[in-house]
Symmetry: C2
Subunit: 252 residues, 2 copies
């Protein structure tokens, strides 16, 4: 399945810039994403889009964020200063972020869709999260504060909401390493329930790249690192634009 | 993790009635859930609660349901007539369904939470679904129509929303067979993306019960059965009320 990470890339305005690196080796080492200036066109385009349109970046602090969330966010912002980490903006409908010339006809017509984890009008009730990327470590982290509308068992986040934030983070990681991808498998071990209103760190990384296959893993931990809430593995497939989605899924 | 199926059972008002069957064998045969009258107190309580309070059952047709969804719903309703299948009601906040005497103090205070797949105010934009249970086959099916606010890749359901409806269905199935459970593992293979606005059938069943472990599997298919969108396996653990959640997860 196409991933929201495709959407993430589009949200960043990098649909026309970000390309899978042809130099990705089969031994798991991705040489294409050096920490020096891997995404300069991408980050330039973010700046351009932000200036050109009034877009709401949902990955910025709001009044619903707890002190724990703010502290963690500040820590990662600090680590962005030397370029090791990059903050990833996030929008509710990435199609609106693209220049008109890049939009598909169907996307121009489909205005009322919303990215699933950004579909709430009220701050704080759903998914509150911010992602940071470390390209040299092939790693994406997500600061996640589940709101009261994500409930499963009383007082705790629904297993589906945990799956959603893992899928979003791990997918974002995959696209920045391998380009356009789709999820083939997601396997989650649930260890400890996540209390609503708490803050957890979703930490994902690319473990290996074999041809079109991208293997990733992820852990969801409490801020202090003491509680492991969930761990996951995922397999993503890099998209071949000459084939249909069905052809690509059947030839995995 | 405690499941939304715990919540489902509470939503049905059966928190005080539904008990794990002590006669569940270790060879995978569950003797406790005979097709004759497995949940009579449960269904009686549903009736009672429905009469006593003005609850909105979200698993009933609304104007957002497509003809395909209505047709499938009617087919399953028809199969309910001889008692083989049961329609499962669904609410946005199950805590409100419990009599005051059964509510925990924390639940009385926590009024503003919502069950994750039922957290939208507007019909049709999020999860539209209805579940049916077949106790003799240890099977739960879910008719699912993903709305435009569940988007991942353009025009298709987010992988996290697919995981959510699978988790809800398979969890519901687990609780009706094994009682109070928590998810230990959920593994999903994504085969074909689900178009927003389409209708799919989520078909889950209990494959085996070994002590406290409940093994289930699930397929998500198009109405005509021709397209396999996703398939999943899950492991649930029956809850021992004498231990904490953490103790139970660590002793799996």
């Amino acid at each position: 399945m196409w991933r929201n990470c495709v959407r993430l890339a589009r949200g960043l305005g990098c649909g026309a810039f970000l390309r899978p690196d042809p130099k990705v080796s089969r031994c798991g080492v991705v040489r294409g994403l050096s920490p020096a200036a891997p995404c300069s066109p991408l980050w330039n385009s973010v700046t351009w889009l932000s200036q050109a349109r009034e877009l709401k970046d949902y990955a910025l602090p709001n009044s619903s964020w707890s002190q724990g969330m703010m502290d963690l966010y500040s820590r990662f912002l600090e680590m962005c200063k030397d370029g090791t980490w990059k903050r990833i903006p996030s929008y509710s409908n990435s199609v609106d972020h693209l220049p008109e010339s890049l939009k598909l006809t169907s996307e121009k017509e489909r205005k009322e869709t919303r990215l699933f984890p950004r579909n709430m009008d009220t701050e704080g009730v759903g998914f509150e999260y911010a992602m940071f990327l470390n390209t040299s470590e092939k790693r994406m982290v997500c600061l996640f504060q589940p709101g009261p509308y994500l409930e499963g068992p009383p007082g705790f986040a629904h297993g589906g909401s945990t799956a959603t934030i893992i899928d979003s983070t791990i997918g974002g990681c995959a696209i920045f390493v391998a380009g356009k991808v789709m999820t083939a498998n997601l396997s989650i071990n649930y260890r400890n329930p996540i209390p609503l209103g708490s803050v957890v760190l979703v930490d994902s990384r690319v473990d290996q790249v074999e041809g079109r296959k991208v293997f990733l893993s992820c852990q969801v931990r409490s801020i202090d690192g003491q509680t492991l809430h969930a761990e996951a593995t995922a397999l993503f497939i890099r998209v071949d634009s000459t084939k249909s989605l069905q052809q690509q899924m059947s030839s995995q």
